[in-house]
Amino acid sequence: MKVKYFAWLRERVGKAEEMIEPPASVRTVDDLIAWLAQRDETYAHAFETPRVIRAAIDHAHVKPDAVIAGAREIAFFPPMTGG
């Protein structure tokens, strides 16, 4: 699946998007954050405060316990500051 990062999360990860293939044990958004965080120090730093990170699956906001199965695109970003 495709993962996208925005704002300071994009800057910390060092890329705007990438393709990932997490293991089947990674079921929810929360699981995915934990899985990404353990990849290396860069990801660990980017995802060090998971409570302030928002997620969207296929362009719709989702909660941390949302199941990621079937998602084409998952995005992570800080709280929105538009308007």
Binding site: K4, P78, P79, M80, T81, G82, G83
Partner: protein, 155 residues
């Protein structure tokens, strides 16, 4: 009653008069048009700002605004609405966002415009980075913006 919905995300500035005209032209069933313009200020709290840079999530930003537009159209008797959000670098005094609502009566237009702004602030995937004296920083979200959006689910 045909509804007239415009949603645009663009780098260039918008022309409020032209957008109002597009929403009202040739119609005589509109009694009230409310516009909200969000403008880049020269300070954020105590800090002076040289410019803002707005990043967005293409695809989701349009979809999220469209969802809010549909909600507004279903909650209030609107003849139309427009949402234009700028992205890229914006300096103090420049426009950031425009929300227009048109209705037969003024309360619907006011309520829908305020609802749209509260929802955009809290939910539309845009992020502001500020250029200040001490370098650039991502602006923090404010708890009161979430609270402002939440009040529409209570009423």
């Amino acid at each position: 009653m045909t509804a007239n919905v415009t949603i645009r995300i663009q780098e260039t500035d918008f022309d409020i008069a032209r957008e109002i005209s597009a929403l009202t032209k040739g119609r005589t069933d509109i009694g009230a048009v409310v516009s909200f313009s969000g403008i880049c200020r020269g300070d954020e709290g105590s800090e002076t700002i040289a410019a803002l840079t707005l990043e967005h999530y293409p695809g989701m930003a349009e979809a999220e605004i469209a969802r809010h537009a549909e909600t507004a159209m279903s909650r209030w008797p609107l003849t139309g609405l427009s949402v234009i959000h700028r992205i890229g670098r914006i300096t103090p005094g420049e426009n950031i966002v425009l929300v227009l609502t048109a209705s037969q009566h003024r309360h619907a237009a006011f309520q829908a415009a305020e609802f749209l702004m509260d929802y955009l602030k809290a939910n539309a995937p845009f992020w502001k980075r500020e250029e200040g004296a001490a370098g650039t920083n991502w602006i923090d979200a404010r708890a009161h913006d979430d609270a402002a959006a939440a009040r529409w689910t209570k009423s």
